[in-house]
């Protein structure tokens, strides 16, 4: 579903990703683990199409298409979703309006009918409740005045509403207490399916206790240095990244 080959990326002239090869088939959840500065977030942003990242080599194919040639909104329309590590505040933009515009944009792209405000509210209500959110949060401006946990839940709410084919979760566990983490993980697990792929980016193994991955990749200094099953995450938790860093 997602195939990354030989990807090299520079930011302001400095090479941050130094040749990434990674394939995530539909139905699988892969985790990218690594210490700060290893290039994890860069990978998420490059896949979503953020400005300021220069791809110097390699390719990314998503559902058979050249992902890197697409605008961010085209990537979303094609089914890619990035849950942000730091969700952006949008003062004056109502959350419900934002969610509905986003949903209708991807529905248009999929050739589906747009939803009016009433149909949208019906769809969103159950999902809001399942994530332990209140309908009052739909009336507020997007992420403005939200707690860290509320912002992360709002990301997962967007994911649940947009039903993307491929989800990238960037440090979704950061800033969450254990109860919030369980709720968010449940939300993510509810979206696991045989036709959906996921890439879970995390520093700590904790999240992977709740979202159990099929594969774990360790990213160090812009390269994947080791790959394995879920047991690799636990081994890293016990030993830390130090040993691998020393070897790399």
């Amino acid at each position: 579903m997602l195939k990354i080959e030989g990807l090299k990326v520079s930011v302001e002239g400095k090479e941050v990703l130094r040749g990434i090869d990674l394939e995530v088939p539909a139905g699988e959840v892969h985790a990218i683990m690594g210490p700060n500065g290893s290039g994890k977030s860069t990978l998420g942003y490059v896949l979503a199409g953020r400005e300021g990242y220069e791809v110097t080599a390699g390719s990314v194919t998503f559902r058979g298409r050249d992902l890197l040639a697409m605008e961010p909104e085209e990537r979303a329309a094609a089914g890619l979703f990035l849950a942000f590590q730091y969700p952006v505040e949008l003062p004056g933009v109502g959350n419900a309006n934002f969610l509905r515009q986003a949903l209708n944009a991807v529905r248009r792209a999929r050739g589906e009918a747009e939803l009016d405000a009433v149909q949208f509210l019906k769809l969103v209500r159950g999902k809001v409740k399942a994530l332990g959110m209140t309908e009052e949060m739909l009336k507020r401006a997007v992420n403005v005045g939200y707690s860290g946990g509320e912002k992360k839940r709002n990301e997962i709410l967007q994911m649940a509403i947009l039903e993307p084919a491929f989800c990238i979760l960037d440090e979704t566990d950061s800033g969450l207490d254990i109860d919030a983490l369980k709720i968010v993980a449940e939300g993510v697990n509810a979206l696991r399916s045989s036709d959906r792929g996921m890439l879970v980016i995390t520093h700590y193994q904790r999240l992977l206790d709740y979202i159990v991955p099929d594969r774990v990749h360790v990213l160090l200094a812009g390269r994947i240095v080791q790959s394995g099953g879920p047991e690799l995450a636990r081994a890293l938790e016990a030993k830390g990244y130090g040993e691998l860093q020393a070897a790399a």
Binding site: E71, E73, V88, L90, G92, Q101
Partner: protein
């Protein structure tokens, strides 16, 4: 006819070495017209009206058009007016201006500055509400109307003075004590019928008796090719405990020029709550002078300026706190695209008597293009010692992270920008309490964005 400019009368204070008014044949033409029409303008036979017009002509003769040498006009140049030969509007009989509101409220329509009873619908006004044309009231020598002329407007300033000299018509609205007048809609529409530049100078008199209430929606629009200069003056007097909600929408063609002076007096416990949305003419100068003259009076001068292309929009306000325990609030947002130019000047003047004044002013600008420019000048002048006044100003661009966030959710770039612009305007537009009016204003801001996107 340039040589026919009048000299100041003897006895007038002349400032030595003051710069002479810029030589302008337009000034001479306008004064010629004032002289030529002096016997024919409505109310000409009334000595008080005639004297009022003569004073206006004299002031304009002395001062001419304001220039950028004056502090109040530092950022707005009226060269376009000084260099244009304006003619009389032609009476356009076969015109039906498009209406932006479907509302059933009473409506008064002005075409090229003249009230048109045939296009207006004021049958349904509430008892205790008088609406009519200034021309009619002056023909009838209505004493109340005559007494109100120039009572509030700063007619020592040249443009209001010119308006006095040449005002042919306008709207007179009076509410009796305690009356709830509901909603009234004024539409001023400029046509291109004359085929050459025209100027008109409407004078509006609005007076609410003690405890009266009114929502006034005022729109200025025009035909696409109309080169019309509208030089309007409104005098708004709110008696004790009265409340006026004044929604103004200036959406005029690129060929038009609008200069407006709104003079407001807010008496004890009264409230003037205004929102002005300006989408431009080629040049708009929106000036408001408000005096809080009685204790516990309140003032809201909110608005949004949406400026694109080569338009120039200037909002200049003077808020005078002359009595204790009054509150003034001002939130003005400006969005600029293309090579547009925006100006925001606001002065809060707190008199010694105005203890416990609560003044707040916020002015924020969003620049969508590197060629756009905003000049902002907030001023506080405080003579009382127990006051709370704050002001803030920001200038910024669209937030790239916010734009990426929206696009990453599938929202196309143009739509994402539109959402962010709407979001930026929200703190100001959301201050309009009536949901229907708020929605109308939001729709106007969306339409403006479409004009920007399609390079209109």
């Amino acid at each position: 006819m340039a040589s026919s400019r009048r000299r100041p009368e003897a006895g007038m204070v002349e400032v030595l070495d003051a710069p002479a008014p810029a030589a302008s044949t337009t000034v001479a033409q306008l004064l010629d017209r004032a002289r030529g029409l002096a016997d024919r303008l409505p109310g000409a036979r009334n000595p008080a009206v005639a004297a009022w017009r003569a004073r206006g002509a004299e002031t304009f003769a002395c001062q001419g058009f304001p220039t950028r040498r004056e502090e109040a006009w530092k950022y707005t140049d009226l060269a376009l007016l000084r260099e244009t030969r304006f003619e009389e509007p032609i009476l356009a009989t076969d015109i039906t201006p498009p209406l932006s509101r479907e509302g059933s409220e009473p409506r008064l329509v002005l075409i090229d500055g003249r009230v048109r009873h045939d296009l207006s619908a004021i049958g349904g006004v509430t008892a205790g509400v008088a609406i009519g044309s200034l021309a009619d009231a002056l023909q009838k020598q209505d004493e109340n109307t005559i007494a109100g002329l120039g009572r509030l407007a700063p007619e020592t300033l040249p443009l209001p003075a010119l308006n006095a000299a040449l005002a042919e018509d306008g709207v007179v609205i009076r509410l009796a004590d305690g009356v709830d007048g509901g909603m009234i809609h004024l539409l001023s529409y400029a046509t291109a019928r004359a085929g050459h530049p025209v100027a008109f100078h409407p004078r509006h008199l609005i007076r609410l008796g003690p405890g009266a209430r009114l929502v006034l929606i005022e729109e200025a629009r025009g035909e696409a090719e109309a080169f019309a200069w509208q030089n309007a003056v409104s005098e708004v007097l709110l008696g004790p405990g009265a409340r006026l909600t004044h929604i103004r929408l200036l959406d005029e063609p690129l060929s038009a020029v609008h200069t407006a002076m709104i003079a407001v007096r807010v008496e004890e416990g009264a409230e003037y709550d205004s929102f002005t949305l300006i989408k431009g003419a080629r040049l708009t100068r929106n000036e408001v002078h408000a005096v809080l003259s009685g204790p516990r009076a309140a003032l809201h001068l909110n608005g949004a300026q949406l400026v694109d292309g080569s338009r120039h929009v200037d909002t200049t306000t003077v808020i005078e706190h002359a009595a204790p325990d009054c509150a003034s609030r001002q939130t003005v947002k400006t969005v600029l695209a293309g090579r547009a130019r925006g100006v925001f000047q606001s002065k809060i003047l707190v008199h010694r008597a105005a203890q416990k004044t609560d003044g707040y002013q916020m002015n924020q600008a969003l620049l969508l293009s590197p060629e756009a420019e905003i000049d902002a000048k907030p001023q506080l002048e405080i003579y009382a010692d127990d006051v709370k006044c704050s002001h803030g100003a920001t200038v910024g661009e669209l937030d790239h992270d916010a734009l990426f966030y929206l696009r990453s959710r599938g929202i196309a770039e143009a739509e994402a920008k539109s959402l962010l612009v709407q979001g930026f305007l929200d703190d100001a537009v959301s201050l309009v309490a009536d949901p229907g009016l708020r929605e109308q204003l939001q729709a106007e801001t969306v339409a403006w964005w479409q004009r920007v996107e399609h390079g209109g």
